[in-house]
């Protein structure tokens, strides 16, 4: 929503007031603007100055109005030719010496400027590259009020800023690398499959088995963010007032605590802000101690997991925020955490375990494709086998598998259902026979059946094969729910 800055200078007692629902930071602009103008070598009019921020019913927040107010005041004084300001958006925070500081949410503002059909956007230099990545609007970066005045006065030529990169963003180095995780190769493989097919995953295991450590490394094996994804993610973050406003480079990893409220998770507030599930857009939402989340809170996850966005209705507005996430949940097998552990004895009664595992609602369980048991391993069990692979190599395989899926069906394998699923995951000959045997022997339900097919498709994609073979199906069977969960 664009904000117009109107300034009136009239005879009367010298004064400076700002109207139009300004918050505290905007009110303080009076002092910053006054001082910055005089420290830049201009004169602040010794008259009654009224600044109106229109439309008046919207609340204005933050220090980004400093520069437009200062320029408007100087336009009234005749320092800046007013017509040069037409069709140009201006954003920036002033420092007392007249310098410009970066602002939050430059990306959103640039997008707004393009939507409103503005020709150009003037903002602090530190935000220029980020804003330029939107395209369609000429972006000019300024270091100080003086430079901006010279620019509008035509005294100074400024080259429009260019976007940092185009297409894919450069690779980021993640500090959490799979190469640092000893053992747990089963869980790692499951995470690779989850990443490749966009499948949601549940890890079950005693405390200290490394579930959180493993989950943290999932964003690092997801493909690099594309520019478009990064812009979407950054917009959500700036809408929540989080992040530096700089373009997001790494996929987000959000791990809300289990005491989180419904609006904390889905988004809310009278002016709805995005919640954790949206902040994890294009990244990973990690829910540790999954059964401890309140049932009502978990229910709001159903829409985002299904549709990839979340809709929040409040009195002020109904907003929809994107929320395409890979959900990773972790849980202990029982309240004390040690059921099934071979070195510590579980102290829970059968009833307690049943109640604990029954807390996760069926509809939500249906949206999880992969179930992995993460045992605590002794040092002896950690030895041997393949050497740990760096995240970079896994990421390359994952990216390839994702490309295959998008070329074939336009969505990730996790979104396959119904007729589409049967088309894409058609089985032939021995695979069909094996699957039939599996359904009988393991008592797979209809939903479990679809789940195994989807996962097998991803395993085949990771192997770079067009058909689902016996080996792929057999591997997929390992990711089904073990009897501890959701009996």
């Amino acid at each position: 929503m664009p904000v117009e800055v109107e300034v009136d200078v009239s005879a009367g007692l010298p004064g400076f007031s700002i109207v139009g629902l300004p918050d505290a930071a905007v009110q303080e602009a009076r002092e910053r603007v006054k001082v910055a103008i005089s420290n830049s070598g201009f004169k602040f009019p010794t008259k009654k100055v009224i600044v109106n921020l229109a439309p008046a019913h919207l609340r204005k927040e933050g220090p980004a109005f400093d520069l437009p107010i200062a320029l408007a005041v100087l336009a009234v004084s005749g320092v800046v030719p007013a017509q040069r300001l037409d069709g140009t958006g201006v954003v920036g925070e002033l420092s007392l010496d007249g310098g410009l500081r970066g602002v939050r949410g430059a990306l959103c503002m640039a997008e707004g400027a393009r939507r409103e059909g503005l020709r150009s956007l003037v903002l602090p230099e530190s935000n220029a590259a980020e804003a330029a990545s939107i395209g369609g609007v000429k972006v000019f970066g300024m270091r100080s009020l003086r430079e901006a005045v010279d620019f509008f006065g035509g005294v100074r030529e400024v080259e429009p800023a260019v976007a940092e990169e185009d297409g894919r963003l450069e690779e980021t180095e993640d500090s959490d690398d799979f190469a640092d995780v000893a053992g747990q190769r089963f869980a790692k493989r499951a995470l690779e499959v989850a990443a490749a097919g966009g499948h949601n995953l549940l890890m079950s295991g005693p405390p200290g088995s490394g579930k959180t450590m493993l989950a943290r490394r999932l964003p690092g094996i997801l493909p690099q963010l594309t520019l478009e994804e990064s812009i979407e993610g950054t917009k959500v973050h700036s809408a929540a007032g989080q992040g530096s406003g700089a373009l997001m480079r790494a996929r987000p990893f959000r791990a809300p605590h289990h005491t989180i409220s419904t609006s904390g998770l889905a988004g809310g507030g009278s002016n709805p802000r995005p919640g954790e599930v949206s902040l994890a857009h294009h990244g990973v939402l990690f829910m540790d101690e999954f059964p401890e989340f309140s049932r009502g809170t978990l229910e709001v996850l159903r829409q985002p997991l299904e549709d990839g966005h979340v809709t929040i209705s409040r009195v002020a507005a109904t907003l929809s925020y994107p929320a395409r996430v890979t959900l990773v949940c972790s849980m202990n097998p029982c309240p004390c955490g040690y059921a099934g552990d071979r070195r510590r004895t579980c102290r829970c009664s059968a009833g307690q375990i049943e109640r604990y595992q029954g807390r996760i609602s069926g509809p939500l369980l249906d949206r999880l494709d992969l179930f992995v048991d993460v045992p605590r391993l002794s040092r002896e069990e950690l030895r041997g086998g393949e050497a740990a692979e760096p995240s970079k190599d896994i990421r390359a395989r994952v990216a390839k598998a994702r490309d295959v899926q998008h070329r074939r069906q336009g969505v990730s394998n996790s979104a396959l259902a119904g007729r589409r699923l049967r088309e894409v995951c058609a089985l032939r000959g021995d695979s069909e026979a094996l699957f039939g045997a599996a359904i009988d022997r393991m008592g797979l339900s209809g939903r479990a059946h679809d789940r195994v097919l989807r996962v097998a498709r991803t395993v085949a994609d990771l192997a770079g094969e067009t058909g689902i073979s016996v080996e792929h199906l057999a591997e997929a069977l390992n990711y089904r729910r073990s009897s501890f969960v959701g009996r």
Partner: protein, 372 residues
């Protein structure tokens, strides 16, 4: 007169379910039939009672309605055995605090009274190999016509009952809750089948909750119904060890199945072996010792565990199967032993599971199934 005796025993039973298991034995020379008529002050002079017990006694005296209660039992087809009845299992008098009333849903097998029954007990969180052992023992005993007694809990108890039922034998489940209460719920099918084959037994009247202290208490009844106790996997502080101790006190034998080193769930049972319990190293030999058959009729019941790999497996599957032990083995440990890549290993495990060579336990570990 018999009716009045029954009512008195029922009263004592209900009282004990509230005031603690040792209440009746503390009554000393107070005539049992007189207790329901006494006031709590009178009774308090003869026996030391806690406030809680006194309150329970008062409440009970006020609400006690033997006719309705006995009628309800009759309607449900549940019989009540008291020490005055001929059918009361004689060995039960040897355990501490014999229950004043034993509720029986089903029929106590006659075998129970003639050949001494065998109790198979152990951990609720047993390993798959422990469950397998319990099931095999149950089956072998069932085939030999020996009644098997256990506690209808999860784990070893359930596996033992199931083994007997597979062999078509008779089995008795002793509950730590009211005779009509199913706990844990997930065992409700097993409850039904045990009732059909033999009986459910409890010292607790209808509707009593499965309180934690009632389970150790019911173990003395298991001990009192059997001649020998077999402990399969018990941790150091396990109810199964209480059963074993009661059985020893009552003059029974104690046997244990040796478990692997390092498993917390086997420390108690292994220690029993060290303390001199009979060692079950072979199911057939054990059954022979417990219930010898007349000459000529001995059939070997069990084949020894076959560790060789079956023929016709793909190389990857063979390597994976060799890596899966007869003890539960986590996938990562199998990977370490077999040297296979994780993808290959997972495929191989999936195929082996389908072919029935291995199975996955509740915590996601794999166990090799004994051949045959």
């Amino acid at each position: 007169m018999a009716g009045r005796d029954q009512a008195s025993y029922l009263f004592l039973s209900l009282l004990q379910a509230r005031a603690g298991t040792s209440f009746v034995s503390r009554l000393g020379d107070v005539p049992l039939t007189a207790v329901p008529e006494m006031s709590s002050a009178e009774l308090g002079q003869r026996v030391r009672m806690s406030d809680r017990a006194a309150r329970a006694f008062e409440d009970l005296r006020r609400d006690f309605d033997p006719e309705t209660m006995l009628g309800e039992l009759e309607r449900l087809g549940i019989s009540m055995l008291t020490p005055a009845d001929a059918g009361y299992p004689p060995r039960l008098m040897n355990v501490p605090d014999p229950p004043p009333a034993l509720f029986v849903d089903g029929t106590l097998p006659e075998a129970l009274l003639e050949t001494p029954a065998v109790a198979v007990v152990g951990s609720r969180k047993a390993s798959p190999s422990g469950l397998d052992a319990a099931r095999r023992l149950g089956r072998a005993l069932g085939e030999r016509g020996v009644c098997v007694i256990s506690g209808l809990a999860l784990g070893i108890d359930a596996a033992a009952h199931e083994g007997v039922l597979e062999a078509g034998g008779a089995t008795v489940g002793v509950l730590g809750c009211g005779i009509d209460v199913v706990y844990p719920r997930s065992n409700h099918r097993l409850f039904e089948r045990v009732r059909e084959s033999g009986a459910l037994v409890s010292e607790y009247h209808l509707g009593e909750a499965p309180l934690a202290w009632r389970f150790p208490a019911r173990n003395r009844i298991i001990a009192g119904l059997c001649g020998s106790v077999v402990v399969v996997e018990a941790a150091e502080k396990s109810g199964a060890l209480i059963t074993a101790r009661h059985a020893l006190d009552a003059g029974g034998d104690v046997w244990a199945v040796p478990g692997p080193l390092g498993l917390a769930e086997c420390r108690g049972s292994n220690k029993l072996l060290a303390d001199g319990a009979g060692c079950i190293w072979d199911v057939a030999e054990f059954v022979e010792a417990i219930a010898p058959v007349p000459a000529g009729g001995i059939v070997p019941l069990e084949k020894p565990l076959d560790v060789s790999l079956p023929a016709g497996l793909a190389p990857g599957e063979a390597a994976a199967l060799a890596g899966v032990g007869f003890e539960p083995t986590e996938v990562d440990a199998v990977a370490g032993r077999s040297g296979l890549k994780m993808q290959e290993l997972l495929s191989a495990l999936g195929l082996l599971e389908l072919k029935g060579y291995i199975h996955r336990d509740g915590s996601g570990a794999f166990v090799r199934r004994p051949a045959g």
